[in-house]
């Protein structure tokens, strides 16, 4: 069931269980998002209350770049391939469109996460650009940062932006919303456009 995001100990356990340990999901992280964009955050619970996944998002950007951004989305391994991510993305797109009146929704995804990329493409997202030099190359991070947490089954997609640029986020994918009827926020040759991390907000 789709519920609004409540900070419970379960959320924490869940968040820590399924996300990369390099992400410092401290108290401030969740509270920051919830104190600003509570309607862009939600959790999904199984019928008898088990948490299956959650999404955390925000709205940002100036002028035609004003958009909804998926910061983190994750589904527990035992609930994968049951359309849960799609339901949460639908909500986030709906709110970005109706409430925030954004031009598009975007997210970052690791270029080696083919399953996720394919899934987002199925939802209407396309690559807008590639981001290089987070760690001087595309892909595996410095010092074997690819190593996962003891709790971290690799998350469906782990995306961070803003100041927490500690993750490898090579692909920036976008989907235009109704306000961008001319589809100005996307392009066909996104995979050929490479930008450096500094250019990405």
């Amino acid at each position: 069931m789709l519920l609004y995001f409540v900070l419970s100990s379960e959320t924490w356990i869940f968040g820590q269980k399924h996300l990369d340990h390099v992400l410092q999901y401290n108290i401030g992280f969740y509270l920051h998002y919830l104190s600003r964009w509570p309607d862009l955050c939600c959790v999904q619970e199984a019928p008898r209350g088990r948490m299956m996944g959650y999404v955390i998002g925000k709205a940002e950007g100036q002028a035609a770049e004003w958009h909804g951004h998926v910061t983190a989305i994750t589904v527990a391994p035992e609930y994968r391939r049951l359309s849960l991510a799609r339901k949460m993305m639908n909500l986030l797109e709906l709110v970005s469109n109706d409430i925030y009146r954004g031009f598009f929704v975007d997210l970052f995804v690791r270029c080696n996460n083919l399953v996720a990329i394919e899934m987002y493409e199925g939802m209407g997202y396309s690559v807008y650009r590639r981001v290089k030099e987070y760690y001087g190359n595309l892909g595996v991070g410095k010092g074997g940062r690819d190593e996962e947490d003891a709790f971290g089954m690799s998350a469906l997609a782990v995306c961070l932006s803003g100041r927490q640029e500690t993750e490898k986020v090579p692909l920036d994918m976008r989907k235009p919303l109704s306000r961008d009827s001319a589809r100005r926020s996307v392009r066909n040759n996104g995979r050929d456009i490479i930008v450096s991390a500094h250019d990405v907000s």
Binding site: L3, I13, H21, Y25, S35, P38
Partner: protein, 931 residues
């Protein structure tokens, strides 16, 4: 401020920003020579002092600045950080109020004053202030601030029921007085609905929801939509809500489970209202078949894509079965066929599969005959699901040792066969067969529980270690292993696994119980090894971050007008602040501290104040036990209960029981009575729970509740009774000897002045006149209760029994509790160690009565230490390792000899270390406190 001074102050900020507190202090001192009364510099110095933990000096400066009633932004801001660091929220309120009074047109200052009240949870003042600001600045935001302040005051557990209603009514009056409707912002709307729900004004709420604006908000805002559902339910409009949900499912393809639930609720709503009336049953039956048709249609359409339709059918069936029907089995079968290859199948079906008799037989038949091929990941999942579902319904007669062992054998065989499937997976991935190992491990633990034979725990450990080596991320196995190693008396191995989990942030609250529960049993603090003590301190860091960070976000939510979040944030802060685990950890830390550090009046005073704070708390249990996988049959205990150390989980009762014991002992041994404490305490007192107000401290300490005590092990119970007897005996003598408050305060003032060069505020330091000797006579000296010596003799006997059990934990438990009893004796008699005190108060006869008790305690402890040392000498040897391999009996099953040997080595080495260390610590404490 002059430009020159401004220039000189800048480097102080820079130093503070970069954490160079020392140089900040130096720079402040330099400036203070020229401008001794500059409040800003003083405030900055106080901040640097707070940050360098020099609390006493900071306090003195802080008070000086406060007295000057600062009003400029920079000083106020610096002081805000100082006061927060010192936990003096009330002083912050006073400071801002005074400043705002001086500049009533300063809107920002008004907001800061409001926030100061928020931080101090002064909801009433906050509400009044916000109302005033609304009138003055005409900003609607301030009106809403006053509304939510009323709501928060109503929510405060200390608010009475009648008051609560009044406050909600006030909130409603305020919110309806706003010029624009609440529906212009979803968070305002949410607040409005919350108030109406609390006041049971469902019709009015419904009217709001029924407007286009209201409908629009609920469409996109989950929080508002949830209140809407709630209101519809409370209003009794289940049928209407069901129809709406049906529409959403059909027209908008909504697959939110909540909508399916609404449809089911709507289906049965006629029964809720009046099931006696004729025709209701028929009406309901026809509705059930309609809903069934709807869900069937959805499930056929969605197929494997979405499980909502089929789960809806199960839910419908489950509820109508309570009335009548028999379709459940078919549905279970269908679900298993469709989703049996998904990992969630077992958890999805568990609530519906509590079957009996014939139905159970048929269900088991279906599962038993399901394909057992292990050729693909999907088929492995199906096999695992069938095992789990079958196991869940096993009856007691099916749970014989032989049957369980053959199950384990099957699981292990399939596990090994299925491992091939994942042989190319990267090391970061989970193996598809992991759950087969978890199942086998669970079986072994269950057999251990049935037989008490430790070899089954060895088996479980070896198997899970093996599976974990193949699937490094399988944290559930690690958690199981942590439990098993603690049961085996190998705490170091358990800790290694715990560290590999890389516990972070709030997990320190929810999961640290895995190694900190009753960890004083394994602590070598008495012999100088502080591993567990530092583990406690580390786990407690999160509470400090919570108290420092969370309130900032409450303020931010006010600024951003996210009212729906404010009560949630406050609840979150409260749950962490008053976490049960926090104080369980605190108690364990304390028990280790008294064993490690020399027992002195300073430690006793400090700990006493903290324990009394804890005693006033209303605790929340945030511990996560659900995280442990549980695949035990429903007729036996779950895995968590089976693997608790000493079979008991410590909860509120355990915390209260030990708190009472320690507070009693410490307050007798301490000179700090309530008067003194009140005078010396800086900062705010924590909020006091209702329970705490019900009696005086003394009355509450004396209450020993059966239910509370039932959370203790028998040995812990003996310790508590012993401590009660000891305290009851010595109380009159402590009260007689304890110096009067004025003397204690004078001494404290003298010490502070020596340290900071400034007198202690608010304390009269004139030495009391004349002699301090009490006028009344020495209370009659009584004999020591027999229970005291008896306790040590009984523990000796208990130890003899415990040391013969196969796992060393029982003996360690008895030994460490006996040691604790001795330390409590030291605490209780500390005051009578000083010869002059004994002489002045004529207590020589009392002191001679201590000797035989002390002697018995020391003898018993020395015997136990010698015995533990004897046992530890046998651990860690090659015979023990061989014994481990033989008992585990898994070598034949293709598990590598060296692999098992290595686990055996770790277990027996860890046992050796803990037994040896505890023995050493006990001997050391005996020599320290023998005299």
């Amino acid at each position: 401020m002059s430009a020159a001074l401004d220039r000189q102050i800048r480097p102080i900020y820079d130093a503070l920003d970069t954490g160079s507190n020392k140089s900040a202090i130096v720079a402040c001192n330099k400036l203070l020579k020229k401008h001794p009364k500059n409040a800003l510099v003083q405030a900055l110095k106080a901040l640097a002092l707070v940050r360098s933990q020099k609390v006493e000096e900071a306090l003195a400066l802080c008070d000086e600045v406060l007295e000057s009633k600062p009003a400029d932004d920079s000083t106020l801001n610096a002081m805000m950080h100082v006061l927060r660091g010192l936990g003096r929220h009330k002083d912050m309120v006073t400071m801002y109020e005074a400043a705002y009074k001086k500049q009533p047109a300063n809107e920002e200052l008004g907001a800061q004053t409001f926030f100061a009240n928020v931080r101090a949870s002064n909801w009433k003042s906050a509400q009044l202030l916000a109302s005033k600001m609304y009138k003055q600045f005409q900003e609607e935001r301030y009106l809403y601030w006053s509304v939510i302040s009323s709501v928060l005051q109503a929510k405060d557990p200390n608010t009475s029921t009648e008051m609560r209603t009044l406050l909600y009514k006030l909130a409603l009056r305020l919110i309806t007085s706003a010029p624009s409707p609440s529906s212009i912002r979803s968070d305002r709307f949410h607040l409005h609905l919350t108030i109406l729900r609390e006041l049971a004004e469902y019709d009015e709420a419904f009217a709001l929801l029924d407007t286009p604006a209201g409908q629009g908000i609920c469409e996109t805002n989950l929080a508002c939509n949830e209140i809407r559902r709630d209101i519809m339910r409370l209003k009794g409009a289940l049928e209407e809500e069901g129809k709406r949900a049906e529409q959403r499912i059909l027209e908008k393809n909504d697959r939110n489970w909540l909508e399916f639930l609404s449809v089911v609720d709507g289906t049965f709503s006629p029964l809720l209202q009046n099931s006696a009336v004729d025709g209701v049953k028929e009406q309901c039956a026809s509705k059930v078949s309609n809903t069934m048709a709807l869900f069937t249609k959805i499930s056929v359409e969605d197929g494997k894509k979405d499980r909502s339709g089929l789960l809806g059918l199960l839910e419908l069936e489950d509820r109508s079965r309570k009335h009548d029907s028999t379709r459940l089995l078919t549905l279970l079968k269908h679900y298993y066929e469709l989703f049996g290859d998904k990992a969630c199948c077992f958890e999805d079906l568990k609530p519906y599969s509590d079957l009996e008799d014939q139905e159970l037989a048929s269900w088991s038949e279906i599962l038993n005959t399901s394909p057992s091929s292990l050729s693909s990941v999907e088929s492995v999942r199906r096999v695992i699901n069938s095992h789990k579902l079958l196991r869940y319904n096993l009856s007691r007669s099916e749970l014989t040792v032989e049957a369980e062992c053959s199950r384990a054998e099957l699981y292990i065989k399939q596990y090994q066969e299925g491992l091939l499937l994942g042989k190319d997976l990267p090391s970061t991935e989970l193996q598809p067969v992991d759950d087969l190992a978890i199942l086998a491990g669970s079986v072994f633990v269950n057999v251990w529980k049935m037989t008490g034979d430790i070899k089954f725990l060895y088996k479980a450990a070896v198997l899970l270690e093996f599976a974990l080596a193949k699937s490094r991320q399988a944290f559930q196995m690690r958690l199981m292993l942590i439990r098993i190693y603690r049961l085996l008396g190998a705490p170091a191995v358990a800790s290694d696994h715990y560290h590999l989990l890389r516990i972070k942030q709030v997990q320190n609250d929810t999961l640290s119980h895995f190694i900190l529960s009753r960890c004083s049993t394994f602590s070598l603090a008495a012999s100088g090894d502080l591993t567990f003590s530092s583990e406690c301190l580390e786990a407690s860091q999160i509470y400090i971050s919570n108290s420092q960070e969370t309130s900032d976000f409450v303020i931010r939510a006010f600024s951003a007008e996210k009212y729906s979040q404010i009560p949630e944030f406050i609840k979150f802060e409260d749950w962490l602040e008053n976490s049960l685990q926090r104080d369980i950890t605190k108690l364990e830390y304390l028990r280790m501290r008294v064993a490690h550090e020399a027992i002195s009046s300073e430690i006793i005073d400090l700990e006493l104040i903290e324990l009394k704070f804890i005693f006033d708390r209303l605790h929340h249990d945030n511990r996560d036990f659900e995280i442990l996988p549980n695949y035990q049959p429903r007729v036996v205990e779950d895995f968590n209960t089976q693997t608790l150390l000493f079979g008991k989980s410590e909860g509120h009762g355990w915390v209260w029981s030990l708190l009472k014991t320690y507070i009693t002992a410490f307050s007798q041994a301490s000179d700090l009575d309530d008067v003194v404490e009140e005078k010396l305490l800086v900062g705010d007192r924590p909020q006091v729970s209702d329970a705490a107000k019900r009696g005086t401290l003394k009355e509450r300490l004396a209450e020993r509740d059966e239910e509370e005590l039932s959370e203790l092990t028998t040995d812990e119970l003996s310790l508590v009774s012993y401590a009660d007897a000891l305290a009851a005996w010595l109380e009159p003598f402590h009260d007689y000897v304890r110096p009067p408050a004025s003397v204690v305060l004078a001494e404290a003032a003298k010490q502070t002045e020596l340290k900071t060069g400034m007198p202690l505020r608010g304390v009269d330091t004139t030495p009391p006149n004349g002699s301090v000797k009490k006028e009344e006579d020495t209370p009659p000296i009584t004999d020591a209760p027999e229970a005291l010596q008896k306790f040590f003799e009984n523990m000796k006997a208990r130890f003899e029994v415990a040391r013969k059990t196969t796992s060393p934990v029982e003996a360690l438990h008895v030994a460490t509790l006996t040691q604790e009893a001795f330390l409590l004796f030291v605490v209780e008699t500390l005051r009578f160690k000083t010869a002059s005190v004994v002489k002045i108060h004529k207590l020589g006869n009392l002191v001679t009565k201590f000797k035989p008790i002390r002697a018995v305690a020391v003898t018993v402890l020395r015997d136990m230490a010698a015995a533990l040392e004897g046992i530890s000498a046998q651990e860690g040897t090659s015979e023990k390792r061989r014994e481990f391999i033989e008992l585990s009996g898994l070598e034949s099953l293709e598990f590598d000899h060296d692999f098992i040997m290595n686990i055996g080595k770790k277990v027996t080495d860890s046992r050796k270390k803990v037994q040896e260390g505890i023995a050493k610590g006990m001997s050391k404490l005996c020599s320290t406190y023998e005299q």
